[in-house]
């Protein structure tokens, strides 16, 4: 069998590849940067942190409201403690100068494990009243 003509696979110039070759089929390379992923990640982080800030601010408001609401009760409790301490101290002083009724009460309290120190009562009284109110 005689071969009449030979068709070249590559172009006659030799430099250009054929149209169906892989290098020719790939589109032009798009330059990707890290901008978009980094931006998306940053925005996601902002959303999470922003939500957390919102929750914390709401929690702080609620805590402040509770703290303010407690103030009246704490003031009343401090007044009660002041009154109790003053009454106990006066009773102790009365017992110390020989009043039998006050002495009986002081002895009864001591039996229950409650001892009264008039000097300490006055000092602790002021501290107890000041401590919760100042916060």
């Amino acid at each position: 069998m005689n071969i009449k003509s030979v068709v070249p696979i590559s172009s006659p110039a030799g430099g250009e590849p054929h149209a169906s070759s892989p290098e020719r089929a790939r589109p032009e390379a798009v330059q990707h940067t890290a901008f978009l992923p980094v931006l998306l990640g940053g925005l996601a982080l902002l959303v999470v942190l922003g939500y957390q800030t919102y929750v914390l601010v709401a929690e702080r408001d609620a805590l402040n409201a509770t703290h303010t609401g407690q103030q009246q009760t704490v003031d009343n409790a401090a007044k009660l403690r002041n009154s109790l301490d003053a009454l106990a101290a006066d009773t102790q002083r009365l017992a110390d100068i020989g009043n039998p009724n006050a002495g009986l009460l002081v002895a009864e309290l001591r039996k229950r494990g409650i001892s009264i120190n008039p000097q300490a009562a006055a000092g602790a009284n002021a501290a107890a009243a000041a401590a919760p109110a100042s916060r």
Binding site: T33, A34, F35, V38, L39, G42, L43, L45, L46, L49, G50, Q52, T53, L56, V57, E59, R60, L63, N64, T66, H67, Q70, T73, V74, N76, A77, A78, L80, R81, S83, L84, A86, L87, A88, D90, T91, L94, N99, P100, N101, A102, L104, L105, E108, L109, I114, A128, A131, P132, R135
Partner: protein, 102 residues
């Protein structure tokens, strides 16, 4: 990454950093406030228990003062804004009358 992109990402990251710092600070402050509220609540609860003791002391002093006609105890209670009156023994008349009926 061009100049605009660089500054955009930097702004987002800076905001995130500020928010993170704010969150840490806020969480710490909230924890302190919560602890303070707990202390105050405990103070109030202890005071409720002391209120019972206060009432008992007043009642005991008033009873002792009235029973023994103790003017010092009466004056002590009055200094604290507490006064009491001794009722006339209402049961004395019927009790005295009862034997007469028999």
């Amino acid at each position: 990454m061009n100049r605009v992109q660089y500054w955009t990402v930097t702004a987002v990251a800076s905001t995130g950093l500020l928010l993170a710092a704010a969150n840490v600070t806020m969480a710490s402050l909230n924890r302190g406030l919560q602890s303070d509220i707990g202390v105050r609540q405990q103070y109030v609860q202890q005071s409720v228990q002391l209120e019972g003791l206060y009432r008992e002391i007043i009642r005991a002093l008033a009873e002792l003062g009235a029973r023994n006609n103790d003017q010092e105890v009466r004056a002590l209670l009055q200094r604290h804004g507490i006064s009491y009156t001794v009722n006339a023994p209402a049961v004395a008349a019927p009790a005295a009358a009862a034997p007469a009926r028999k």
